[in-house]
């Protein structure tokens, strides 16, 4: 089957599926959606797997009535992302089936939700398949719009609608930049294909095309200062959608960046150093914000920014490696980035699914109102703990594997450094990555501890209990996948290596370096993880054996002599990370709101005091900019007057304009 037929078949399944979803009984709708996602996953996974074994699969789509051939190319890089998308999307449907059960009253929304979910899945796959710029942009736009519709599932809620619109605007900013980039590319090379980037004449223009495309993809990926959509969109979306968005959509930004740097022909060093520095700052900025948020879904959203930073560090190392002619660095950097992409999609969707279970049971996203959930929801707690350990990059879980590879890349780069400035950049990057690791430890001990441990801090609307099996099933499957990465990393590493060596073939064309030592080290990491787990089990076994016969009394927590403990006196999430907040107040500002007591007031009455943390980039740069823009654009409000007649007139004007434009083209 050719790639063009594949696209056709997917479009066919999709349209049939959408019709089916509309007419089918609401009880079967999630299962039909699962079925459609499964079919499309199988359809797309075949060529993806083939591209690993027998080289890139390419084809040409020839649509009737449309000029030009649309190139399709599924190489190993696309394949890597296609497989991640398929796995996460299937898990998302499974989890969503359970999650949306509590929204039975929103019938129309559910119907739309599943329709857009299948569309979303297919459009993401198409993003990875299209080689032709315009088709790519269409798929990209379909993906942005359908995900926006998924975000605003609870559309009756004003704040959610606002978050959705914010998301849509920022995504279109990204599309504008990308479109400009592609048009620029077409003007310079006469082709819309990505591979045209390799043909660019090295004049004064070529760097701007890369910068435009990079900025467009960076908005999707959430590099600062383009990250501001993430912390709004993720908490607003239903949890399974946040899981898929954070796990996959932001990764497509990474895919785009990967795709363009493949075609970079010169100046790797400066690109690498800029990406590396930007990524370190992104990671620190993300985790500093995550450490202080009390909304756990927002915390996870900021944590996504942190992980994008870590992936970016990998990309930066790889590029510096090409510039330094250090093949080891190229391999380690890019493989680390790819593996971290995979790992992050696994544990972040796991954590978001867990967060969804908590939200479903407690109806709050504020960690300060929770506590002691481990007794009520032990399985969710255990799964969340595994996710928390993995995302902190702590062995014996999968996050460590990719962070280890990135660290090794940094150290290898440091050993073979060229120039003092590079050495300083690398050591500072190592420091940044270490600080990020330490802060994510603080963030996730706090999140896990405050949500699940201790005693409940507040009376909840109803007693929480363990969630349904259908919501737990995908979480177990994800944990299984995570453990497979943790214990046999060499398997995943070898595939990532294939992607890197085929994508950056020019970097490996010189004297080939043997990568067996690296593969051995990666194999070792898996073995060490296994040894470590065994060691813990043995120690715990010995301890249990020894204390079995000892007297053990259950008593209240030691209150330092105070015998009437108060639930409210427990350490809160805010107090846990307050000292971090003080240290990092140049990144995350604390804002206190105090109601002033009027001077004339004689008797004391109730006064409110609240504190919150603000994201300085959002608050001081992006929001004021948006406000100014709205102010200026308000003058053009007369254009949007709601009269259909004038809209028709605008259409006429536009046609005349285009006509005149072509009529006068001889001037150009």
């Amino acid at each position: 089957m050719g790639s063009a037929q594949l696209i056709g078949l997917m479009a066919f399944t999709l349209s049939l599926g959408i019709v089916g979803l509309i007419i089918v009984n609401e009880r079967f709708r999630p299962f039909l959606a699962l079925f459609i996602v499964l079919i499309n996953s199988v359809l797309s996974s075949f060529p993806a797997l083939m591209s690993f074994t027998s080289g890139p699969q390419s084809g040409v789509l020839n649509l009737p009535h449309l000029a030009g051939d649309i190139g399709i190319r599924i190489d190993s890089l696309s394949a890597w992302f296609i497989l991640i998308i398929n796995f996460t999307s299937i898990m998302g449907v499974l989890n969503g089936t359970g999650y949306l059960k509590s929204y039975r009253h929103l019938k129309v929304n559910q119907e739309l939700h599943w329709v857009f979910y299948v569309l979303f899945h297919v459009s993401m796959l198409w993003v990875c398949m299209f080689e032709h710029g315009i088709a790519f942009l269409v798929a990209w736009e379909l993906m942005s719009l359908s995900s926006m519709m998924l975000v605003i599932f609870e559309s009756h809620n004003k704040s959610i609608l606002k978050a959705g619109i914010n998301y849509m605007i920022q995504m279109h900013l990204s599309v504008v930049l990308l479109t400009l980039g592609f048009v620029f590319l077409y003007v310079n090379t006469g082709t819309f294909n990505f591979s045209g980037l390799a043909l660019l004449p090295l004049g004064p223009h070529w760097i701007w095309i890369f910068i435009l495309l990079f900025a467009g993809f960076a908005i999707k990926a959430g590099f600062i200062p383009f990250h501001t959509w993430l912390p709004h969109a993720h908490p607003a979306a239903p949890s399974h959608i946040s899981g898929v968005m954070s796990g996959v959509i932001v990764k497509l930004g990474i895919y785009g960046i990967f795709r363009i740097i493949m075609y970079l022909r010169t100046d790797w060093l400066i690109f690498g150093e800029v990406i590396l520095a930007l990524s370190v700052v992104t990671a620190i900025y993300g985790i500093a914000n995550a450490a202080l948020r009390t909304d756990f879904k927002q915390m996870l959203a900021y944590c996504t920014i942190e992980n994008i930073g870590i992936i970016g560090i990998g990309l930066g190392i790889g590029l510096i490696g090409i510039g330094n002619n250090n093949q080891m660095m190229v391999m380690l950097g890019f493989c680390g980035a790819l593996l971290h992409t995979l790992n992050h999609s696994l544990f972040k969707s796991l954590l978001f699914f867990g967060a969804g279970s908590i939200y479903q049971q407690t109806h709050t996203r504020n960690i300060e109102r929770l506590g002691g959930l481990i007794k009520k929801m032990p399985i969710t707690a255990g799964l969340f703990l595994i996710g928390a350990l993995a995302i902190g990059g702590i062995p014996p879980f999968n996050g460590f594997v990719s962070e280890f590879i990135i660290y090794t890349g940094l150290f290898k780069g440091l050993i073979g450094f060229q120039g003092v400035s590079q050495a300083i950049l690398l050591i500072l990057s190592i420091t940044g990555l270490v600080i990020v690791g330490g802060m994510s430890l603080a963030t996730f001990t706090r999140t896990f501890g405050v949500i699940f441990l201790g005693t409940p801090r507040e009376e909840l609307p109803h007693e929480p209990h363990e969630t349904s099996h259908i919501m737990l099933l995908p979480q177990f499957l994800i944990v299984a996948a995570m453990l497979s990465v943790a214990f046999i990393p060499q398997f995943y590493f070898s595939y990532a290596g294939k992607v890197v060596s085929s994508s950056f073939a020019t970097a490996f064309s010189g004297i080939p370096v043997s990568f067996t030592p690296v593969t051995d080290t990666v194999t070792n990491i898996g073995r060490m993880a296994l040894i470590f787990i065994m060691l813990i089990i043995v120690m715990y076994g010995i301890r249990r054996l020894l204390v079995r016969k000892r007297a053990s009394v259950t008593y209240e927590t030691w209150g330092c002599g105070y015998v009437a403990p108060v639930k409210k006196a427990q350490y809160t999430g805010k107090s846990f990370n307050r000292s971090f907040g003080l240290l990092f107040n140049f990144i995350v500002k604390e804002r206190k709101t105090i109601e002033k007591i009027p001077k004339t007031q004689i008797y004391p009455s109730r006064v409110n005091f609240s504190t919150s943390y603000i994201d300085i980039l959002d608050h001081y740069i992006v929001s004021p900019l948006a406000k100014r823009l709205t102010f200026a654009l308000n003058y053009f409000q007369f254009i949007q007057n709601g009269r259909i007649q004038s809209y028709v007139l605008y259409g006429l004007f536009f046609i005349i304009l285009v006509f005149l434009g072509t009529a006068f083209s001889f001037i150009y």
Partner: protein
């Protein structure tokens, strides 16, 4: 294997040496060198009181903490003799394995639902975050210095050529001593002997642990001290055969213990708010080492 045995032996006496030094400096005779270990043995035989707020995490954490330190010790070489586990980049795993133990201890403190223990947990998380960069910059500098990237290779190829490199060794020992003090929550940051819960760090985290678990945690502290002592000693014993390196190992370890005792006798605990500044000093000292290495390599031209 050699280093594992030596560290185990040293861990039995380490806190004995500290306590002896402190006693002598304050004009007392002090308990025997093995007394702290006897206390721990006593604890191991005792039953325990467990808070009803806690879950399985509270039960697992001490054993996992102990296991994480053992795993870290397995990676430490003894001069030319590699640790049981030795591979390229093992010091990264070393730091992260220790982080695993810390993670579990922190959540086990939160598991009790006590406000004091949460306070200790918060401080532990903060200080361990701040101290980690110093360790990595230090190892990064020596990786650059020797061109190797595993504990064993770094230490076995470490040669002192010029005066500056001796200075680097000295600074590195200083940084490691301070890291050990912070990781074990000892004097300039935290006073383990204080009786006010509000000012403690590590001790307050384990308020609710008792019996076997408490003994395990206390022994793990000793092991951690001996582990850092072993890393310090590795900076100096790289090129010697066993008959010199093993006595040197013990001399350096005992010197380290005495230094800890002296610091604890003559220094007061810092105010909690000043601690982050102090910890940052370590990072800057390790940056100094890094620049020193660049200087030795002759790249600063």
């Amino acid at each position: 294997m050699v280093s594992l045995l030596l560290i185990f032996i040293m861990s039995l006496f380490f806190s004995g040496f500290i306590i002896r030094t402190k006693s002598i400096l304050s004009g007392r005779k002090g308990p025997g060198l093995f007394q702290p270990m006897l206390d721990i043995f006593r604890l191991w035989k005792k039953g325990s009181v467990i808070s009803q707020t806690t879950s399985f995490i509270f039960q697992i954490a001490p054993s996992a903490y102990f296991a994480s330190v053992i795993m870290a010790i397995l990676m430490i070489p003894h001069g030319n003799n590699p640790g049981l586990i030795s591979f390229d980049g093992d010091f990264i795993m070393f730091a992260y394995v220790l982080a695993f133990g810390k993670f579990l201890m922190i959540i086990s403190a939160l598991d009790t639902g006590s406000s004091f223990e949460g306070m200790g947990a918060s401080r532990e998380a903060l200080f361990s975050m701040l101290v980690e960069p110093a360790f990595f910059i230090l190892l990064g500098s020596f990786a650059l210095f020797t061109g190797q990237s595993s504990f064993h290779q770094i230490f076995s190829t470490l040669h002192y050529g010029s005066q500056i490199s001796y200075l680097l060794g000295g600074l590195a020992s200083f940084v490691l001593v301070m890291i050990a003090m912070i990781e074990n929550s000892r004097m300039p940051l935290d006073d383990p002997k204080t009786h006010l819960e509000l000012t403690m760090v590590h001790e307050v985290m384990i308020l609710d642990n008792s019996g076997f678990d408490l003994g395990l945690i206390m022994y793990t502290t000793n092991l951690k001290f001996a582990m850092y002592g072993a890393i310090i000693s590795n900076f100096f014993i790289g090129m010697f055969p066993y008959e010199i390196s093993i006595p040197m190992f013990f001399i350096i370890q005992i010197g380290f213990a005495i230094a800890v005792g002296i610091i604890e006798s003559f220094m007061a605990r810092f105010r909690m708010g000043h601690n982050p500044q102090f910890v940052f000093i370590l990072t800057s000292v390790s940056l100094l080492i890094f620049f020193g290495v660049l200087l030795v390599l002759g790249k600063f031209v």
